[in-house]
Structure formats: structure tokens, C-alpha cells
Amino acid sequence: MKAVDFDYRRPTSLAETCALLSEGGGDAKIIAGGQTLVPLLAMRLARPTLLIDINRVAELQGVTESGEAVEIRACTRQARALADPMVRAKLPLLAKALSFVGHEQTRNRGTIGGSLANADPAAEIGLAALALDAEMSLCSAKGARSVPVGQFFVSPMETALAPEECLSTVRFPAWRETGRIGTGFQETSIRRSDFALAAAAVHLVLDKSGLCARIAVSLGGAGAKPVRLTAVERALSGGRLDDREITDATALAHDGIEAMSDIHASAAHRRRIAGVLVARAIAEARDQAVAGRI
């Protein structure tokens, strides 16, 4: 099918983008990489009257270091972020997650902010952002506000973004804990690079004596939005992360995992693979930290 007719504007600044958004009211929609939006338009699940193309807004592109954080502008292509030396060095979990996002053809257009703003519950970028406690900058003609990623995702395809707001920057604060960092990313999908039936992301730091100084565990794809498994994190903090500890901690999470059923998998199946993936991702991160590869 073809998209219904719409007006098209191509601003060159964030201020102009925000002005167009407020003019358009709820009927305007931002297009960045278009890898989620254009299929929705083609299937007529979305019918905006105005598309605001932010691909030529220079201030919405690029990766920069800002104090104790790495900032990724919303319209930075996934392929650019994946190849970016700063992302690889400072955000190894995001780099790992990005290699699971779509295919080369879609990563060449798809953006970091576009994936987050579309809030598919199975999307990998949101899952990594949640583990890394990202902060989202939301801009409108009235000003800017910052929303922690944990409050950003509301339900499938729904975020804290108001209709007149544009996601401008995603800020990844550095962890204060020092030691050996390890990351794990595991997912199960029907086809390689497809959206996940369930996926787990883990970021951890081991201190000098090999104990877990801090760990973040997030789970996506199973339920309506990605979630942090805080009970697992609490159980493993300060531990040695041996296989037994990981199995016991993951079992804690199993009953609390909210999972959905659809044509691809039942809730019970999702819950089961979620537990396995979480355990594998923690072990992967531990092994990486022990080997000192980051």
C-alpha cells in the first residue's frame, strides 16, 4: 500500500523543528530514518498530515563527550553510532546491542533517537539505554526537559514524548564505580536481526577482588516495555557471580516477568527464554570482565 497524502517540510534547525511541531498540533510527525514510520505510513496505521524531516538538522547529529557522559544526538544513524570509536570505547553495551539492530540497509538509515521514540518493546537500543540509565532530552517550542529512560517508555509504541516534543539528545552517564567492566547482550528472534522474542542486556563492574561492584540487568521483548530486573541486580551485587549465584538470582526474576502472547510466541515460552537469556547475558558480561577485554 501507499501512504496517504501529507505535507512535507525539511527544517535545518531544532528551533525550526519545534516551531513546525507546535504549528502541526497532534497531526504532525517527525521522520528521521523512517525505518519504523514509513512501514506504518504504508500500511496506513499512521496518517499524519505533516511530515517533518529532521535528516538535515545538523545539531541533531553526532556523538560527543560531555563531562562524565557520552551524548548521542537523536538523528545519529545506527550505522554511524556502531562505527563510532567513542561508542565502542565508552558504551560497549550499546555497541553490542547495535549489531543486533535490523540489517545493514536499515542501520544505514535508522537512527538512535528514532528507535527510542518509536518504543517498540522488542527494540535493542531502548534495552541498552535502560541498562545504562540514559537520560532523554525532550525539546519543544516552550523549552527543554530531561526524562530518565525508565520513565520514557510508557507502553508499546508510546513514550513520554508530548505531540509537540522532539527527542533531541540521549545522554549516557558514565559509571562512577571503577574496575573491570563487562557487557552481555543476548536475544532470541525468529530470524537473525529480526525483532527479539526476548532479549537481555547486562552491564557490570567487578572490583579488584573480583566481586560485583555494580550490575544493571534489563529485559526486553517479553512484555509491553523493557524493564530493569532490580531483584536480580540486588541479589548479585557484592557477589562473585559464579554460575550457581547467577542461576539462583535469575530464578528470583522468573515469576515476576510480565510476558505477552502473540502469534510468534506464548507468554510462557517468552518467560522461559527470558530467564535463560538473562542468565547467559550475566555470564557473558562476567566472563568479559574477568578476561579484562574492555
Binding site: M1, K2, A3, V4, D5, F6, D7, Y8, R10, I31, G34, Q35, V38, P39, L41, A42, M43, L51, D53, N55, A79, G102, H103, E104, Q105, T106, N108, R109, R192, S193
Partner: protein
Amino acid sequence: MSQHRIDLTVNGKTRSATVPARLTLVDFLRETLNLTGTHTGCEHGVCGACTVLLDGEPVRSCLLFAVQADGAQIATVEGLAPDAEGLSVLQDSFCELHALQCGFCTSGMLMAAHALLTRDPDPSEEKIREAIGGNLCRCTGYKQIVEAIALAARRLKGANEPAPERGGHGG
């Protein structure tokens, strides 16, 4: 209806047109420019049949509106062959190793493979499989496509290798 004037380069030629905002790049290529080598498959970004190069990088032309390609360099399958009579080394390898049957996915496969070989002249089998991971083929089982891309890579490096002998399945 919002109409937009666009100027872009397609296979080295400057093309200009006035297009409605909702016209996808693949429809612009096929219906406005009559470049029907790029195929429309699923029209929602799943199959990869419409893969073209946008400023040298493979993208899905059904997920881009023509107006967004204003000022861009586009390469399609029609631009691969060195002249009207011949085929490129990659296209030749596809023919020789029976890397196509119905041909529907072929132009997308060729563009994805062309982008790979431009970037990486000596790709591993894993890299080849990854590069065409976004392109669906329902006939070949992919094996011959992977072999054809590997053969093209060897030939382009100057190894000048003949096609391997194949069994008598015809094809």
C-alpha cells in the same frame, strides 16, 4: 497535495522532477524514471528487493520518500554493468553459479553485494551472509548467491578464476 522539486543524480546522470511528498524513492525510480530494474517486493522494509545505494550505502528505497533523496547520489542495478551489452563481474558470477532463479530478489542482492565488495574486497563467508542478511530469496536457498559473491570477490582481486564445475542439475 504537497509537491516538491527534486534534483538528484541517478547512476551518474542528473535527474530533476516535481514529485508528491508521498512518492517513495522506489516508485520514483520505476515509474517516473522508468528504471524498473529495482523491484518492489513487500513495500514495507522487510524483503530488501528494492535495495539501492544512497550516497554509496545500501538502503531500502521503499522506506525513503523521493523528496528525501533531493541532492543525493543514487545507484541502481542499471548502473552496475560497464556498458549496454555486458555485465559486471558480480553479475556474471551470479549467472554462472545460478545465483538466481525467478530473479525477483536479484537486483537487491546485487546492490547489497556490490556495496560489500566496494567496502571489503576480501569478505569472509560470514561477512557475505551478513551483507545479504536483509535480502530475502525464496528460490535459491542462498547458497549459490553466497558462492557467487565469493567468486566475484576472487575475480575482482585479479585471481581470474574459472567457475567451479557443478553437477548436472541444470537450473
